[in-house]
Symmetry: C2
Amino acid sequence: MKKLLLLVMAAMVSLSSFAQPTPAPAVLRHVVLFSFKAASTPEEVQQVAMTFAGLYGKVPQVKAFEWGINNSPEKLNQGFTHCFVLSFSSEKDLADYQLHPAHLEFQKVLKPHMDKVFVVDYWVK
Amino acid sequence: MKKLLLLVMAAMVSLSSFAQPTPAPAVLRHVVLFSFKAASTPEEVQQVAMTFAGLYGKVPQVKAFEWGINNSPEKLNQGFTHCFVLSFSSEKDLADYQLHPAHLEFQKVLKPHMDKVFVVDYWVK
């Protein structure tokens, strides 16, 4: 009976934490778009994307990572085809990421294939 | 006692659903960037942003909405200052959103102030 009561109390604490969630921490998004050189093969472009995605886990400042390939029918993408969104907790973390050896290595993989780059950062509202 | 047992069972079901999460559903991101006319005041620009953000809740196809103002030190934003990211469950939902009366109303609020627009859509990898 004591065990049951403890379980019920634990369930109630758990439920109350859902009812009153703590405010989400501030999130800084780093949105990076690339277009690639016509001479680069799909495999080379995929290798660049995989190397970029591989930074998640290697660079501890990167709190979340997602990416995808543009499929907008609006044709307002100015030739940019690949979109990467990295999430950080602070501007210092983003600055530290820029200088992290794994990010510098990625830039070497990117450089021969990149045509154009577009970057915006914003604090999520 | 029966009530207690039911509560415990409910707690166990709830906990097991956390232990074995179902795969996240596919997410289509719609990334929209604007630059605004020099003649538009900060208040007018803020009104545009608030009207855009107000679509979340009015247009049921919009599953998530976030936005922010560019603060990237890299200066690779080509003059675009405001970034909006809308999430959808399907390309049909995104197409339906484009034709929703609330979205068409928003476009009327936007039009006098918009300088440039940039759009990419991608399925989250």
